[in-house]
Assembly symmetry: D2
């Protein structure tokens, strides 16, 4: 942390800054030009950084206080240089294989989910997605089948032989969702639902954390830090689009540069969701290929056996055929980054 | 809802659009220029609007589908023309008086809260704020005193004779928080925590809903619609700043134009929080005056008896003296909008 | 500038950082924890700051490079503590009086401008606005009367006895516009038209610089710095709204907190344009009052004698009657901030 | 255009809406539920759309006015279904080949540009970039060599046998820049510099138009419409990143979904600039590959023979070796989209 004083700052004002820093047990380095630095930035306890900055900013004569080190630690590659690999039921995220998660937005019925699961598995997906509890902007929209949906997912997952993921929206539901699915999803609108993060952090179930629609990279990694600091190290980061400049053409702006940024600054696996990221099925194939090219470890794609009759997010779901075509197309991009694509052997055998 | 077809759309494509609309029991109006409209926009059931738009958007030959009516209803002034007044313990929001909510960011101790409550009440505030459960971006920051904090608030509120407000962060805590405070606060990061909205909607406690940092007006009013549609009509809307262009000068961008916009389109009382809205105590007085001038029904202001030793958000808290000065300054602005300021008589008597 | 090295940085990597800094004639301070600071931040030549930061960021072993001082100088209050007052034809901006600039979006005819000028002057405005060259998003929209419009403005200004302001859009037009009007306006979309800034900077005509729709405070003050550093010290800053979260309710988000921020960090007068800032006449009165309460030195308001037949921006123009009402209403807010309102005596006399 | 009236709108209010529409020579369709539509949206003259919407919005009793058709025409694929191919000196944009434009941010000297040109040409680039007039946020930053820079570029282009592109910043410089380079670049901060667009629109030189940092897709295509409607059909669209959520990790947010969106809605070739789009050389390779995967027709990449001594934008420039490596890596992604990469044969021959 560096404190720059105003040009005419008095000796007493400088003294008060030094004293405030020292009261917190930190050493002050006085530099020329009325600048004070706190020695060894990484030695300032993380829980002191923001409060101390704020206390210094309000002192008389202070021009600007700047933090010079990152605010997260466990999520940082500097403290954990090698890639984290999260493995669930034989499916590894963050290793060489590019995994594909696919399935409908909402679980609507056993028949619908079974059809979707069969289709996506045969095309190569290794994890089935589907919402039982749906976060909906409008209270009048379909809210999901709740626990009944989870039971359908558990049954279908076992019958089809595919791992499963579903969203959990409140802390007290973490246990129930974990009993039914392999991976807990924390949605974009829950990224800073701290009681939920703490509860999921105490679980030993893998968690896929989606980036909030206006979350900075720091806020995203600090949300992951909640999970990690409460003991859960099986964390997947998911980019799903940020608040767009306008909503005339896409529902969100898929921030693909977050992929290399997160891979550079963090050791956690990175998933990309081009379905929510764009909101239109017609853009999903291009953005899926681009996500793989950008270095994503996994994709999450909405597929509905019959989008015209879907109960939610019809516009962004691929048909089963569209998804199978996309999986074929992705082979070349996976090859271009030198990584196998999820389900390739199975897929190759089936075709 | 209006569907515009592409220039060369075929008769079969037009037919499929009409058929899709009619399948939902709606009447189609065919207009010149390959445009189809759905009769009586307000007659489309709210839960059909988004799904239907999405289904139409994916049909072949369709150029653009546009919704022409608002997506919220109970929160809308069109359906509830007169102002809603929410009264709690003799304090009315949305009536003539401009109310002032004040107090520390976090409840730190009985002594701290008592000092704050005494100071803000004597300066004219009618509601005491203070966080017991704190949503903190970093897991390493002070997380609040939890239930112990609520008990302190209840005691201090009774001793000082002031109404109270505190944040609730998860659905299962709604009951406990409601037992201790007069108004439930739903924070910005919880604005789309739908299970929490539903639970608070079932309560008969007044709820102050803060706008999310990237929430559009529609998303904000739809979140209020959750509360209203689950039976709770005592809803206050709070503007507290949206995601800023940069964070070099303010923590958020206080969107004061939201005040006249919300007053025009909704009947609910509007509160402004200039402390979070700017993040710096030095800008709070100017923005408090501006909020009153813009038509706000209430202000929410952070006050700490000793900001230099606050455990959270030190930079944005006024001192007790700074708050008393601000209350004096606000008199003239309240007078300019022709409304009494909270605690004026008491304040006038005390000075 | 502070350079934080990665935890495992080698001695050679640290050496290269030090050497790169010293190559630029700057002194290096080595601090504990592998941190290097450059002595006396304000001593780094402004033109070196960004290039040097970029060169250091790409060196091996570097974790983060942070600038600790502001990038503008002449526009900064730290280097020019007292308020700048810009006076044009007896009208002073940045002094005690709150000035009001008013008039139509576009100059459409002599009759229209004369009617507008007469109306706004009799209500108290001291400067007449009106566009001769119109920046229009669509090439199909009305583009203005060009030089003919300027001639009308000059004539009307003289006949009515009111100062004038009009936009200049390209460097080669600075001279022509300056011959016809009292204040040059540089529009939001031209805020980073650097050849235009340089040409206007060489002029001795007052310049009102509008903030770009996504400009940060630093970018805005650096644009002002272009004008100042080329010799023109008569600069007005104008907040006119930034890119909105959505365009469903307002055309822009008027960032009123920019007013106290600019007044704190700069010595230049601050104007607020609530007409473009909101885009709807119905919100202009509330936001005008709020701007005065927030500390604005002047307002710029669109007024059209007949908005229903305006050639541009009809939705945001007040009628002459609406403007006269607003001026009456503003008196109380000007009084509340302890400042006279433009044209008060004249207005008082006329009523 | 569709006008929805408020629930209690009177017959007179409805009549005034109809009359206002008819005054403009348009036919009104009265629909059930107090909704009025204007027949044949595409028949409303483009220059009437915004003004008419604004006039209707201010009428009493009107709830909402919605435009249902796009505001651009010549740039739209609906009116020009086949891809436009822009060919300059044998290099075609928008055809099968993916072109690569490369070179330094600024032209610093003959030696520097010659070295860069030789390096990028031998690695496969077909167009040389380099700024002679530099738009710089700070007036203290290096502003470019101006006409001397253009002369160097012309000479180097001829000697090395490579096409050239450079930025033009004001209308009066269009002719001079066009004499020296093959393609005119209009920068992001000039996207709505309308006099410049008009002048470049009258030229018959190819123009690459960069998207403004907060420009919506509509605003971007309307800026292209300026060029097209003034007669220049050789227009390239360039995505270069939009205003980011924060600047802590990238300088901009590269909006790659704009690539498939633009390809769907427009017929013009699309270029992606990952150098400005991210601001850091380390992210440029990943985002270049992603851009090709997303369907870009060309890339524009900053390359500097010696980034450590560059006069501008050092952090985002690849070295000559880094660029050659990237070109090799891009081969696989070009192959995956089934398109040849610029300079492949030459490159293949040289290696």
């Amino acid at each position: 942390m560096v404190v720059v004083m105003q040009p005419g700052a008095t000796g007493a004002e400088i003294e008060l800054v030094c004293q405030t820093i020292e009261e917190h047990g930190l050493e002050v380095l006085r530099m020329p030009g009325n600048v004070m630095a706190i020695g060894i930035p990484s030695a300032i306890p993380p829980d002191l950084r923001d409060p101390l900055q704020q206390k210094l900013e309000i002192l008389p004569g202070v021009s600007k206080v700047t933090q010079v080190s990152r605010s997260y630690k466990l999520a940082s590659r500097e403290f954990h240089p090698s890639d984290t690999v999260v493995t669930v039921g034989g499916v590894s995220f963050g290793g060489p294989t590019i995994q594909v998660i696919a399935g409908p937005c909402s679980i609507e019925s056993y028949e619908q989910l079974k059809a979707a699961a069969t289709a996506v598995r045969s095309a190569g997906a290794t994890v089935l997605r589907g919402g039982a509890f749906k976060p909906r902007t409008s209270p009048y929209a379909f809210q999901g089948l709740a626990v009944e949906g989870l039971q359908i997912m558990k049954q279908v997952g076992e019958e089809v032989g595919i791992r499963t993921i579903s969203e959990v929206m409140s802390p007290e539901m973490v246990g129930v969702v974990a009993e039914h699915v392999d991976i807990l999803q924390i949605g974009a609108r829950s990224m800073q639902n701290f009681p939920l993060l703490i509860e999921a952090g105490k679980s030993d179930h893998p968690v896929m954390l989606k980036r909030g629609p206006s979350a900075t990279i720091d806020e995203f990694l600090l949300a992951a830090e909640y999970l990690l600091s409460h003991g859960n190290s099986k964390v997947l980061l998911c980019e799903r689009g940020v608040h767009p400049l306008d909503r005339g053409y896409t529902r969100n702006t898929l921030d693909l540069s977050a992929v290399p940024v997160l891979k550079h600054h963090s050791h956690l696996p990175v998933v990309v969701d081009p379905s929510h990221g764009t909101g239109f099925a017609r853009y999903v194939p291009a953005m899926s290929c681009a996500a793989v090219a950008a270095g994503a470890d996994a994709l999450m794609i909405e597929v509905h056996p019959d989008p015209r009759h879907a109960l939610s997010d019809a516009a962004q779901a691929l048909t089963s055929e569209g998804f199978a075509d996309l999986m074929k197309r992705l082979q070349a991009f996976a090859a271009a980054v030198g990584r196998p694509l999820s389900g390739t052997e199975r897929y190759a055998a089936a075709n």
